[in-house]
Amino acid sequence: MHKYILRRLLLLIPVMLGVAFIVFTMMYFTPGDPAAIMLGEAASEHDVERLREEMGLDRPFIVQFSTYIKNLVVHQDIGRSYQSKKPVVTAILERFPTTLKLAALGVLVAVLLGIPTGIISATKQYSIFDSASMVAALLGVSMPNFWQGLMSIIVFSVWLGWLPSSGFSTPMHMILPALTIGTSSAAIITRMTRSSMLEVIRQDYIRTARAKGQKEFIVITRHALKNALIPVLTVVGLQFGYLLGGAVLTETIFSIPGVGRLMVDAIKQRDFPIVQGGVLFLAITFSFMNLLIDILYAFVDPRIKSQYK
């Protein structure tokens, strides 16, 4: 197991270097001079040049990239934001908890909504509940979440006045964003749980459990669920990673100061250190998340555990 984890971690290194390189290259060739943006509509060429020099933008690509990697590897330093002059790590860590919380709440909503619905749907296949929740799930997948967010603001904030429309400070503030970001995941998890559950309850070992005289509830929760949740777990993990990276739309709609908005702003303002650091950070988080799921797998599924050895 340890060996397996170590191998996975080592494999991450070239991937992350690749991420750094791709982002760096892309940013380098993106039109829009960071210095010019900082200086605005009226800045003399002299000033722009001075600033470019100050920022090190006048150096050739290879020099810039290798300096970046050197600082990263040797000094664990990924620079400072052009705009706020903050260390990139600080700038990201300030925002990350909010996004993490948003994504976690979204996944929580998705899990709490999706797994029970999926289970009930599967155990009552072809019932009205099943059909209704399947249509709902399909709609959930089909609904653009930014649209859903806007519509829920209209209904719950504007028309009914029940919930605040922006910010992320109190539980009340979190309800709409969490629902918005969690809906499509809930739908996906519902579908996944249902099909996985259907697959499992047709298995012989479920019949075995019933043949033992076990209660149906226990058959479902203990025998079926544990097996059915294994593939669902992957989806939950993937969704979590996806929500972390894709929170920007929800953050925009609800004025939530998360890492997604930081990134989009940074891209627009050509705040390259933030973009690079942020993408790297999210990529690592995402990869760790995947690793975590694979490890969790081993705990749930003894078959996989023995494979890792």
Binding site: G213, Q214, R303
Partner: protein, 323 residues
Amino acid sequence: MDKNKKMLSINNLSIHYITEEGTVAAVQDMNLEVAEGETLGLVGETGAGKTTTALGIMRLIPEPPGKIVQGEIVFQGKNLLDMTTEQMREIRGNKISMIFQDPMTSLNPVIPVGEQIAEVIILHQNVNAREALERAAEMLEKVGIPPERIKEYPHQFSGGMRQRVVIAIALACNPKLLIADEPTTALDVTIQAQVLKLMNNLKKEFNTSMIMITHDLGVVAEVCDKVAIMYAGNVIEYTDKKSLFTEPRHPYTLGLFGSIPSIEDDEERLNPIKGLMPDPTNIPSGCPFHPRCPKVMEICSEKVPKDTEVSKGHFVKCLLYEE
């Protein structure tokens, strides 16, 4: 051992599967009896309705699409079909146990085998979890698995070993009736013999009645007292083992014997039954076997044959023997 004490009797049982494509009469007008300590063989091709019968007795037919349309299943004097789910759960795994066909899939892959055996013990016997595990270990030993392996998972066992675990689960509560659904089909030939022997020994030890589902007449010869041959949901011949092997009557049964290669006979070729099992949603009229029957008569496509007692305790569903 009182051979005449009835353990189970099935009367006029019909089980249908109702699907969009049509209704399948998986079991039709079935009449069977199993006495205490007796072994009944249920023989037929795949799709003949054997497993449905077994699941019917366990009341584990998936509903929908399955439905028990008529009949009764009397176990120890009580009709199982009248029982509540609660009462039925008391019986399952306790008084009636079942061994399934495929040991590779009938164990839960994410639960250690010991717990899977212990589960049935906890359910039906007044013991706590620790005691149950101890008993589970004993059961493992009884079926020939070192009890130290109690904490291992099914994937760590071979097929034959897993079937032993399944047998351990089935016999853990000392059931009155054991239904074994082709318990050896999925196993290697050498293992098959071992497992059959094990079952036979245990059955004798516990004085259990048994329904042995199989398509293998060799298995029947080895373990059964009585045999019911099934074809397309019907028991077409029902008799004791001896008369089945000495004087089979139904053309289908004859055909079955014809398709067994025999070393003793000098016949050069096998005589397999021509044709295939009918589409279950589209059973032929009259006698369902008539399109394949070598002795088919005109009336066979019109009239549904009834049980005919050709000699004492030997029932055949064939118009050849109807008056």
